[in-house]
């Protein structure tokens, strides 16, 4: 009994101490309070239309806890709030389960579907089923070449090859000779296209490096050892914003002079561009992909409007350098860029 009481006292003391530290150590910058102030400044999500409350579902090939898709979702939710839409979201990185998810939304008779086509062949049949059930489909992010053939209304995204080519040209502009393209998701066709596109336009030599994107320490040590073993590398291109920061750390550890450039954007990348630790970023505006997908479905349901004239609606590439970084810092913080 005595032991139990003593333990109770210890726990109480620890809790009291923790609370004390939390109260005494208030931060005057950043944190939740700053975030709430920012949110208060931006518009509140109220419907701006009087159309019926339709249900749209988005199914992507995202893994668990992916920053990029989080921003896509933010855009979609913002548009859904404006357009009086009930928005559902599902994702699975495995092609088969992604198509099962689409099927289960068809079973629910949603009013519109938004699908990413990273693995087009796996989604073909289920999208045909959606159309048979009279559900309009818009494809986002990847699969531009398959979108029209599958009978989707429009495709919203970035042509990965074009984006890669933009990177290659930017590297030429910066006088780089030997670049490293870091692929963080083995088996992703879009990633391969990015590196291949960069290789096509880049006048120097480009090498590919595969890393385990779900394991950051592994990403860092892989890039590090590559930079140590090949001192000639003067540019590292990462394919996702979270990996840019890691590449910077790896470069510092390896004592390399390489410039770090990246696809996509997040708060760290914006800061990195501003302070010069990163060269440039190529953004595909994920917020726009989510926002436009929901909005275009709404336009189709409301007014039979279709955007793109049978061609993909491109949201990128947008090359971002030091001069744009300041404005984007604020937007990345609120999770819309």
């Amino acid at each position: 009994m005595a032991r139990v009481r003593r333990r109770g006292r210890v726990v109480g003391a620890v809790l009291a101490a923790a609370l004390g530290v939390a109260l005494a150590g208030c931060s005057s910058t950043g944190g939740l309070r700053a975030e709430q102030e920012r949110a208060a400044k931006s518009a509140g999500g109220k419907a701006a239309v009087n159309t019926p409350r339709w249900t749209f579902a988005m199914v992507t090939h995202s893994g668990d806890g992916d920053t990029f898709w989080d921003i896509v979702q933010n855009g979609a939710q913002q548009a859904a709030a404006k357009d009086n839409i009930k928005f559902l979201y599902g994702h699975d990185k495995e092609a088969q389960r992604q198509s099962e998810l689409v099927q289960s939304y068809i079973d629910q008779k949603v009013d519109g579907l938004i699908v990413s086509l990273a693995k087009p062949n796996a989604m073909k049949d289920v999208i045909a089923k959606a159309e048979k059930a009279g559900i309009p489909v818009i494809t986002v992010n990847s699969g531009a070449e398959a979108s029209k053939a599958f009978g989707a209304l429009s495709h919203i995204g970035q042509d990965e090859t074009v984006a890669g080519e933009a990177v290659g040209e930017e590297l030429n502009k910066r006088g780089r000779k030997k670049a490293l393209c870091v692929l963080h998701e083995q088996g992703n066709v879009g990633h391969e296209q990015r590196c291949d596109g960069a290789e096509k336009t880049f006048k120097g030599d480009l090498q590919k490096l595969y890393v385990e994107g779900t394991n950051m320490p592994d990403v860092q040590s892989s890039i590090e050892s590559k930079l140590q073993s090949d001192r000639g590398i003067d540019a590292v291109v990462t394919l996702g914003a979270p990996f840019a920061d890691t590449a910077v750390k790896a470069k510092e550890q390896a004592g390399s002079k390489a410039e770090i450039d990246t696809f996509d954007l997040n708060a760290q990348v914006a800061t990195g561009l501003k302070d010069g630790s990163l060269g440039f970023a190529v953004d595909q505006q994920p917020y726009l992909q989510g926002y436009e997908a929901v909005d275009l479905l709404w336009l189709y349901k409301y007014n039979s409007d279709v955007l793109g004239g049978g061609k993909p609606v491109l949201t990128g590439p947008q090359v971002i350098t030091k001069k744009d970084a300041a404005a984007l810092q604020e937007y990345t913080k609120r999770g819309t860029r």
């Binding site: 668990d64 559902l88 979201y89 599902g90 994702h91 495995e94 092609a95 088969q96 389960r97 198509s99 099962e100 998810l101 099927q103 289960s104 939304y105 068809i106 079973d107 629910q108 008779k109 693995k119 062949n121 796996a122 073909k124 049949d125 998701e185 083995q186 088996g187 992703n188 066709v189 391969e192 595969y210």
Partner: protein, 357 residues
């Protein structure tokens, strides 16, 4: 699932005649039911089914149930041999990527040799069975735990999948074989669906049921079934009484390989192109299905029907969460919690059964 077969390890006799005292017979039936490994999972499945019927409005539609059954079958086909393997006291962590390996071999062999797709299917069967035999041989020769052996195979296959695909195709996914001879007939076998009224019944569901039936027959009605229980219960004792332990274990691994081949061909013929990076992590789903279905981690106890029910629970949960329109972020938490609950329920039911027996 009122399976009134004689309990394992007893010679199969004729069913008891219902003459004499009916109460006696009735009690023994109840007692036999209590002793079945899958009882706990059946109770769990009923609970999950009722739960989602209440919280998810579209769940009870025929089309939704066929989606649930399809999702269950893709896990279930693999869960059957994995359950047998677990009853035999071993694990296979390479089962998930082996499915994708099998599909890749089939696709690339057909494409590169411009052969009829059935040639690729046949070669894939041989190679996949060889991978299974390799697992089993390594296990019985080295006496290392199966966890280590198959972890090694898992990594090797993951690397081979990607390495070979890049080497041969130049990209990370295979080229389309949909326009080749034999594709359509193979699709009929591995990836077609029957339409009953307005409902699609995927052929994988039939494969799944057939595998469950065969595995149940092997376990309960054949000598091999007794061997599987024996090597899982106590391998040394089994060897002492003349059970071919090595052969049994290699056979069990080849059983997993066979099912991986079926699943792999399904992937290939329903989606045509295969992503070399898929399949990682699925091995745990198969183990979850088998464990929820009453297979003991220590071997010697379990059933194929239980594994099927386990896969069905998994299918209901994974799709039920979507039908209920919950946030999918919590899905894995739910899955883990369900696994723990189902296994606890199993343990409790088994304890009750042992007390009564």
């Amino acid at each position: 699932m009122s399976d009134t077969d004689a309990p394992p390890l007893q010679p199969a006799g004729p069913p008891a005649k219902s003459d004499g005292d009916e109460r006696l017979l009735h009690r023994s039936l109840a007692r036999r039911l209590m002793g079945r490994p899958e009882l706990g999972s059946v109770v769990g499945a009923a609970a999950v089914f009722v739960f989602f019927s209440i919280v998810a409005e579209p769940f009870l539609q025929a089309s939704s149930l066929s989606t649930v059954l399809y999702a269950s079958s893709t896990i279930g086909i693999m869960a059957v041999p994995v359950a047998l393997l677990m009853i035999g006291g071993e694990f296979d962590l390479s089962a998930g990527v082996m499915v994708v390996s099998s599909a890749l071999i089939s696709s690339m062999f057909s494409y590169q040799l411009t052969a009829n797709t059935w040639v690729g299917v046949g070669v894939s069967l041989l190679v996949t069975l060889a991978i299974g035999a390799f697992n089993g041989l390594l296990l019985t020769r080295t006496k290392l735990p199966s966890f280590i052996i198959t972890l090694g195979t898992f990594f090797m296959l993951t690397g081979l999948n990607l390495g070979f695909t890049k080497l041969i195709d130049g990209t990370v996914s295979t080229k389309s074989i949909a326009d080749m001879e034999g594709f359509d007939s193979a699709r009929k076998v591995f990836a077609s669906h029957l339409t009953l009224g307005s409902v699609d019944i995927q052929i994988t569901i039939l494969w799944w049921l057939a595998l469950v039936a065969v595995a149940t027959w092997i376990l309960l009605r054949t000598r091999v079934g007794n061997w599987i229980f024996a090597v899982g219960g106590n391998a040394d004792a089994a060897r002492a009484v003349g059970v071919p332990v090595t052969k049994t274990k290699i056979g069990l691994y080849m059983g997993v390989a066979f099912a991986a081949w079926v699943s792999g061909q399904h992937l290939l013929f329903s989606y045509d192109a295969i992503q070399s990076g898929d399949g990682v992590g699925n091995e745990f789903l198969y183990i979850i299905a088998a464990a929820v279905g009453g297979c003991l981690m220590t071997g010697g106890f379990g059933s194929a029907i239980g594994a099927a029910v386990g896969a069905f629970i998994f299918g209901m949960a994974s799709k039920g969460i979507v039908y209920a329109q919950w946030n999918p972020d919590w899905y894995k938490f739910f899955l883990g919690a369900m696994l723990l609950l189902a296994t606890l329920l199993n343990a409790w039911v088994r304890k009750r059964a042992e007390e009564k027996a």
